[in-house]
Amino acid sequence: MFDAQDLYQEIVMDHNRRPRNFGSIADSTSSSEGFNPLCGDQVTVFLKVSDEIVEDVSFEGVGCAISKSSASMMTEGVKGKSVEEALIVFQAFRRMLTTTSDQVEDSEILGDLEILKGVSQYPTRIKCATLSWHTLQAALQGSGSDVSTE
């Protein structure tokens, strides 16, 4: 018996089994690659941005349930938002995982992403959840540079 429901909630497991927006975007306007050398997780985020709006976003890669579901939920969370709004969500998400308090300050901004708050109790897994977000940030800022968690 074990207790890890706070980490592996039903919705997280669902995104892990059936990741949303998985694959590349043929007419993407930018993309970035992220890598976690500690566990070998690797993700590529594709963006289609037009008039400062994230019209489409997708991801590809290999990783654990936390990294895959986080990437999947991220694509749902930022699609249709402006670049500026997407970056605000990124900041709120990162804040949620790196503060030890049980309270989530930015519930309104985060929406469904708040489900991943449980990850903050597992310090070794925080990078799994944030890898795709850092990669998204690099793609949004058009740097196109690769991201590493280390």
Binding site: M1, A4, Q5, E10, N16, G40, D41, A65, T124
Partner: protein, 413 residues
Amino acid sequence: MLDVEKIRDDFPILSREVNGHPLVYMDNAATTQKPRQVIQALVDYYENFNANVHRGVHTLSMEATDMYEVARNKVAKFINAGDPDTVIWTRNASESLNLVAHSWAKDNIESGDNIVLTPMEHHSNLVPWQELARDKNINIRYIPMDDEGVLDLSTIDSIIDDHTSLVSIVHMSNALGTINPVKELCDLAHSKGAMFLVDGAQSVPHMVIDVKEIDCDFMAFSGHKMMGPTGIGCLYAKKNLLEGMEPFLTGGEMVLEVSYEEASWADLPMKFEAGTPNIGDAIALGAAVDYLENIGMENVDEYERELTSYAMNKFVDVEEEGGKLFGPRNPTQRGGIISFDTPDIHPHDLGTLLDQMGIAVRTGHHCAMPLVRSLGVSATSRASFYVYNTKQEVDILVEGILEAMRYFRDGVR
């Protein structure tokens, strides 16, 4: 036969709980737990003998020096090195390997030469040679291995050739458990005029090691993987080689005479031990050697083989659920390291779930990235045993893996 329960009583940490469950510690290939005797040796040294070595004329310094050198003697005897001057204290196996790369290889490997490794080297026996190859025109060659991670020696004559100056081989793979035929490879290397280095980080703690019988020129290993403290390791090398080698680090302790213009080097082993050494941890490693000798390395080896065979049989349940075991199937070709992949659940998730059950395993690439990639996975899970692990713990591990696999396959209960 050894008494495992009696051994377990010597390890205070084994009675603690993790996440509400008794600890099942199976990350011994990363580092092992320490018996009370080793911890006590550290306390005893710092409470009663602490002083710098090889320089003071006062009582404490003489006593500390004596204890420090007695520990070196113990390690030398443990691997049958003969002369204790052939055992150099380092921080760990990585530093030992770097010492050889800097002090021996730089001066003895020439442009156009080659170095022979295996595909299952730890990064520590890979990166120093890559760095050397970058500086010099040196080729690195790899002995091929089969699907089970056993070296394929059918083409060895074309791999180790007259231009090979060093064959550097891991004795037991930390990622697969494979035990490589070092004696056979050492003879082959010598027949071509090459030197032979054994990375003994995973073998010295678990089996009888006789450097004279292998006839290896160098052997590197770490103290913390054999019940000793972290921060202390060893390099064994043949005396004539050590005598011909330049120092790795220079400064205090390692000099004979110093003027404002130049310096000459101290005799072995101090030539390679610049600065105040890790006295306390060396002494405690001596206590770890005593502890292992007391059990008997033949008994450690025999017990771990039995435990590994038991685990391999138990893992059939995991394989029936789609799990995949890496490394040799033949228990005589492997040590107590079980590396595996599970369908539907990533090693990282499995590691977290097992931790929730109090079970410590390693997940990832085990500092052998190219090897793990060649297995077709980005990471594996690894359970590695030591003499204090039990069959009951293997049962708990296998049950835990099956439960985690079901949890991921069937959804949240």
